[in-house]
Symmetry: C2
Subunit: 316 residues, 2 copies
């Protein structure tokens, strides 16, 4: 799947992933009304609204981009019905030949991580029948529990040719609270380095066991809001694809992104959620109106593509 | 809810939480057969099997214990149907007046953690209607993203009088990989301490904003497999209830647990999953047979209670 991701990025010339994080405040009123008319102001109504919203956006942008990243929390807040909308979204995007990165940030002790890996990337056996759960192509993974929380995901990646992105340096303001802590290095005694570098080294090591043609099935999450750390981590994990959140609404700019890419112009894929899916609510795209929200999303994808293109060209 | 937890622990005299982690290999054949006969070898069949298994165990032990801890991964592996069984389990346990700790280990950036907090502990507004998702009493939270990943949960805890347990030192073998790293202390320059101590201090600080009568709504997860760290963390977070996994199947023993409790005999609640729910598969309880698996679970709860009682009595 990492090979397919690289191939699709080359083909679309867009190292972009659209974050399908459908907060109800982004969903245009006409969609909400239709959904509530059918299912009432219920979890099922909410799930129908976010599904219809997602579908329209995917239909409008799928030819421009290699991948989408649904954030499962935005579905999970609507309970079981919301998670059914998550599943429907994953399936629909895969039918459109989009690569689906499940932003699930799971991670637990060994046997429990096995269950998460089976549910999101792999399969389970029920009696004698093999069944698949959410069946994303990639999942994001939290490393706080160490190797035995991550390795069950890697095992499934090897079996299924799927991938993970491990949280290394997240995009949020307080990510430094633990991730930036200077910690003792077990390689060169006495040297102190931030925790995210140590985690990055583990990502590189884990990734060696699971290589595609040029990049590993084990990638990393590093926020666009921390370009300097991105540069350092790019060097530490040369074979890891970096999933870069934080562009756009969270403050990351095109020029900040260049450090995340390798010299071959590959190695990073930049996420934008609100900036794309709620583009119609921004002044710049207000002319589209709520009726044509999906066209606004398409325009925002094209603008993001140009912003990144220009930044990479300026790097030379 | 922390007051209710303390009260129920006093009443049952059992600082015990039963982990409802229904792996299919624990579910007796007769239950699997009945479920598959009704729904086929499908996700729905698997979900029905784990629900019937849970229900029988809960019916057999609910009067002995204050709380249960369903591990959501074991349900999530069966997709949307599995999560419906999770929800049914949560509801049923709450009807039985058990406190439900959702072992979900969620954690993300601010707005996303808000959605998780709403889905698991709080509510969402759909149109003008307030709806509730999974509605557990407590949830476990991963701290890797720092304060702005945890605070949205605390906000919901304050509103709903619910609680969280933040992962501090987990029970798995590789938990030390990152959690034990010696890190620079920002309080006393030059002093180096393991990361889990720093996280523990944050838990204590977060907890001050959200106090029940004697303990905080913000608790911590510290593994029974690391008793020495438990002792240190007990001192660092005197007002935090400690959820202690790793007893039984993972190797933690009654004598290891005494450090997790305060002098008042409170402050810790010990989880056992396999050791209770799959007791009938152990030699010690084999006499019950697969038919009477729930009676074996009841016997295992009583034995665990005695083991902890003795250890606490020996401490004096």
């Amino acid at each position: 799947m990492i090979n397919k991701l690289v191939e699709k990025i080359k083909k679309t010339q867009a190292p972009i992933v659209v974050g399908l994080d459908p907060s109800m405040k982004f969903v245009p009123e006409q969609i909400q009304k239709r959904a509530f008319a059918e299912y009432g102001e219920t979890m099922k109504g909410a799930a129908e609204a976010i599904w219809q919203y997602n579908k329209a956006i995917v239909d409008a942008v799928y030819d421009l981009i290699p991948a989408v990243k649904p954030q499962i929390a935005m579905y999970e807040q609507f309970g079981v019905e919301g998670l059914a909308a998550f599943q429907k979204t994953v399936e629909y995007c895969r039918q459109k030949d989009l690569i689906v990165i499940g932003d699930v940030k799971r991670g637990d002790i060994g046997s429990t991580s096995e269950a998460y890996a089976a549910g999101h990337l792999g399969k389970v056996t029920v009696g004698n029948t093999v069944c698949r759960g959410f069946d994303e192509d990639f999942a994001t993974v939290n490393p706080y529990l160490g190797s035995d929380g991550v390795k069950p995901f890697i095992k499934v990646c090897q079996e299924e040719k799927k991938g993970i992105f491990v949280l290394v340096k997240t995009s949020n303001p307080s990510s430094g609270e633990f991730q930036d802590r200077l910690t003792a290095d077990d390689k060169e005694s006495g040297k102190m380095r931030p925790l995210y570098e140590i985690v990055g080294e583990h990502v590189a090591e884990w990734g060696e066991t699971c290589m595609g043609d040029s990049y590993s099935y084990v990638g990393a999450v590093v926020g666009a809001t921390y370009p300097e750390q991105g540069r350092i981590l790019r060097d530490i994990m040369p074979k890891a694809y970096i999933l870069v959140p934080g562009y756009g609404a969270q403050g990351g700019k095109g020029a900040d992104l260049v450090h995340f890419f390798n010299k071959d112009g590959l190695g990073a894929i930049v996420n934008s959620s609100r900036g794309i899916i709620a583009a119609y609510q921004q002044e710049q795209y207000a002319k589209y109106g709520a009726e044509n929200f999906a066209d606004a999303s398409r325009a925002a994808v094209l603008a993001m593509k140009e912003d990144i293109d220009q930044a990479l060209a300026a790097r030379g």
